[in-house]
C-alpha cells in the first residue's frame, strides 16, 4: 500500500507542475484517481495494476493541462485552432516578419511626410491620412501571421479603401472641426478593422473579441514603454548633436514619425511573442490604477455637485471629462479582460463597481450640460460627436454597473459581464465610422 501512496504522490506532483491546473483541481483529480483505484481493486486487480489502469484512463497529463489552460485563458484558441488537437505550436518570436512590416510602415510615413513637407508646411492631409499609413501595415502583419486566405484579405482591405476614398474625396474646410473630428475618429475605426485579421476573420467569437481587448491593452502598455524609451533616446541624441552643428530639429523630424509608425508594429509583435510577461503586469496595473481613478471620479463629482457648477461646463471642460470617461471605460474593460473569469467576487471588483458608478454619474452630469448647451447654441459637429459618444458610454456603463452588481451579489456570473462588453464594443466602432463617413456631409464639411 505504501508503494501505491508513493506513486500517487508522484503522479500528483507531476500534474501540479502544469501552470494551468491549480491546487483545487489537482485535489479533485487525485480524488478521482483514488476512487478509480478503489473500484478496480474491489473488482480484483492488484494495486499496481489498478494504478496503471487508473492513470491511463485519466489521460495524458499534458493533454489534460492543455485542456485546463484552454479553459482558463482566452488565448490558447490561437494555438489550438490549426493544430486540431495535435501538438501545441510554440509561440515563435518570428521577428523578421514584424520587422518587414514595421520598416514598410515607417518608409510609407516618411515618404508621405517628405511629400507633404511637414512640419515646415502645414499639411492637414497628412494628419488626416496618418493612420492610413500605419494601420493597414498592422492589419497586414496579422493577416500574414494568421495566414489569412486571399478572399479574407480582400474583405479586410475594403474598409481601408473606403476610408482612403472618403478621407480624401470629401471637400473639407481647412482646419474646420469636421476635419479634426474625422482625423481623431479614423484611427478608432481602423483599429476595429485590424481586429478582423487579429481574430482570423471570425468576428462573432466572444473569446476572440476578449482576446483582442487584451491585445489592445497590452499593446498600449508596450507602445508607451517604447515611446518613453524613444523619447529619452531622441533627447539624448539632440543634446549630443547640438555642439556639432547638426540641426537636431531636422534629425527629430526624420526619425520621429517613422519611429512612431514602426513602433506600432513592433509593440504588436512584442504582445504576440511575450504573452507570459504581460499577463503578470496587466492585473497589477489595473489593480493600481482603478482605485486611483475611482477616487478621482468620486472627488470630481462631489466637488462639482457641491459647488453647484453641475450645469455650467464650458466646452474645454466637457472635452476633458469625455476623455476621462473613455479612459475609465478602457481601464474597466481592460480590468475585466485581465481577470480570471472563474474567480469569485473580491474587493477589486467592488472598487471597479464604484469607479463604474461614479463614471456613470459623471456621464449623466456631462450629458445634461451638453444637452443644455445644444439647446442654447444648437448642433455643431463637435457637439454632435460628443453627444453620441456620451450616450453610447452611458449605455455601456449602465450595463456594466448592472451586471457587476448582480455578479457581486452572486445572482449572475462574471461571464455575463464579459459578454456584455464584447457584444457592446463593436457599437463604438460603428459610431466612429458614422462620425467619419456621415457626419461631415451632414454639417457641410465645415
Amino acid at each position: 500500500m505504501d508503494q501505491l501512496e508513493l506513486e500517487i504522490e508522484e503522479w500528483r506532483a507531476f500534474v501540479e507542475q502544469s501552470p494551468a491546473v491549480d491546487g483545487r483541481d489537482v485535489e479533485e483529480l487525485e480524488d478521482h484517481l483514488r476512487a478509480q483505484i478503489a473500484d478496480l481493486t474491489a473488482v480484483g486487480l492488484s494495486p499496481d495494476e489498478a494504478l496503471l489502469v487508473a492513470v491511463k484512463r485519466m489521460g495524458a497529463v499534458d493533454e489534460l493541462s492543455r485542456e485546463f489552460a484552454r479553459e482558463h485563458s482566452g488565448r490558447l484558441w490561437r494555438q489550438l485552432v490549426s493544430s486540431d488537437g495535435g501538438e501545441q505550436e510554440p509561440s515563435e518570436s518570428r521577428w523578421l516578419e514584424a520587422l518587414v512590416f514595421a520598416v514598410a510602415s515607417a518608409t510609407a510615413i516618411q515618404i508621405a511626410r517628405m511629400t507633404a513637407g511637414f512640419p515646415t508646411e502645414p499639411a492637414s492631409w497628412l494628419l488626416r491620412n496618418a493612420s492610413l499609413f500605419v494601420l493597414p501595415f498592422l492589419a497586414g502583419y496579422f493577416a500574414y501571421r494568421r495566414r489569412l486566405a486571399l478572399r479574407q484579405c480582400m474583405v479586410m482591405a475594403v474598409p481601408f479603401v473606403i476610408a482612403a476614398v472618403v478621407i480624401n474625396a470629401y471637400p473639407f474646410v481647412e482646419g474646420g472641426s469636421t476635419e479634426v473630428l474625422v482625423a481623431a475618429h479614423l484611427p478608432v475605426v481602423l483599429w476595429f478593422v485590424v481586429a478582423y485579421p487579429y481574430m482570423s476573420g471570425v468576428l462573432r467569437s466572444h473569446e476572440r473579441r476578449m482576446d483582442f481587448v487584451r491585445f489592445t491593452g497590452e499593446w498600449f502598455i508596450y507602445y508607451v514603454l517604447i515611446a518613453l524609451g524613444g523619447g529619452v533616446l531622441l533627447a539624448l541624441t539632440a543634446f549630443i548633436l547640438d555642439p556639432t552643428g547638426v540641426d537636431s530639429e531636422r534629425v527629430i523630424d526624420w526619425v520621429l514619425p517613422p519611429g512612431a509608425a514602426g513602433a506600432v508594429i513592433v509593440a504588436a509583435w512584442l504582445v504576440e511573442s511575450k504573452q507570459r510577461v504581460v499577463e503578470n503586469m496587466a492585473p497589477v496595473l489595473t489593480m493600481l490604477f482603478t482605485p486611483l481613478f475611482a477616487v478621482m471620479l468620486v472627488a470630481a463629482i462631489v466637488v462639482y455637485v457641491a459647488t453647484g457648477l453641475g450645469g455650467a461646463f464650458d466646452r474645454d471642460l466637457l472635452g476633458v471629462f469625455d476623455a476621462l470617461l473613455v479612459v475609465v471605460l478602457g481601464l474597466v474593460l481592460y480590468g475585466i479582460s485581465a481577470r480570471d473569469p472563474s474567480a469569485s467576487p473580491g474587493w477589486m471588483d467592488r472598487i471597479q463597481l464604484i469607479a463604474v458608478v461614479s463614471a456613470l454619474v459623471l456621464d449623466v452630469i456631462v450629458l445634461g450640460a451638453m444637452i443644455a448647451r445644444i439647446g442654447e447654441l444648437g448642433f455643431t459637429p463637435n457637439r454632435t460627436a460628443a453627444l453620441g459618444l456620451n450616450v453610447l458610454l452611458l449605455v455601456s456603463l449602465v450595463g456594466t454597473a448592472w451586471l457587476s452588481a448582480r455578479f457581486l451579489t452572486g445572482r449572475s456570473t462574471f461571464n455575463r459581464l464579459e459578454r456584455w462588453q464584447t457584444t457592446y464594443l463593436p457599437i463604438f466602432g460603428v459610431w466612429a465610422a458614422a462620425v467619419v463617413v456621415v457626419l461631415p456631409p451632414l454639417f457641410s464639411f465645415s
Binding site: 483541481d25 483529480l29 478521482h32 489521460g59 493533454e63 472563474s342 456570473t413 461571464n415
Partner: protein, 119 residues
C-alpha cells in the same frame, strides 16, 4: 466501438447536464454514470471531464461546493442550475432535430423512438 471524436465532444455537455439534472453528483460518479448509461461504449478520458465541469461552472450552468462525505477526503459536488436546465432543454431540442433528420435519411423515421420518447 470507436466513436468519432466530434460526436463524443458534442454529446459531452448534454450528457453531463442531464446526469446532473437527475441529481447532484461529483466527478467520478458522473463518469461512472456515463459508462453505465452508454453500456461502456462511451469511454471518456477521465481527466477531460474536469475542464468541462469548469466550463459549465463558468457559464453558470452548474454550481459546485466542497463537501466531506463520511470520513473520506473532501470532494467537490456539482449541481445543475436553472440556466443549466434551460441549456439542457436547448441541447435536447437540437439533438431531436438532428436525430429526426438522420432517421428520415436512413429510411423509416422511426429509428430513435426509444431514446427520444417518440418525439
Amino acid at each position: 466501438m470507436n466513436i468519432d471524436k466530434d460526436l463524443v465532444a458534442a454529446s459531452a455537455t448534454p450528457l453531463v447536464l442531464a446526469i446532473l439534472a437527475e441529481s447532484e453528483s461529483y466527478g467520478y460518479a458522473i463518469l461512472k454514470r456515463v459508462r453505465e448509461i452508454s453500456d461502456g461504449e462511451l469511454e471518456w478520458t477521465d481527466g477531460m471531464l474536469y475542464p468541462l465541469l469548469h466550463r459549465l461552472h463558468r457559464l453558470g450552468y452548474v454550481t459546485r461546493e466542497w463537501r466531506i462525505p463520511s470520513e473520506e477526503r473532501r470532494r467537490r459536488y456539482y449541481a445543475i442550475t436553472d440556466e443549466g436546465q434551460a441549456a439542457l432543454a436547448e441541447h435536447k431540442r437540437q439533438w431531436v432535430t438532428v436525430a429526426k433528420a438522420l432517421g428520415d435519411a436512413w429510411g423509416g423515421g422511426d429509428l430513435l423512438p426509444l431514446a427520444f420518447g417518440g418525439a
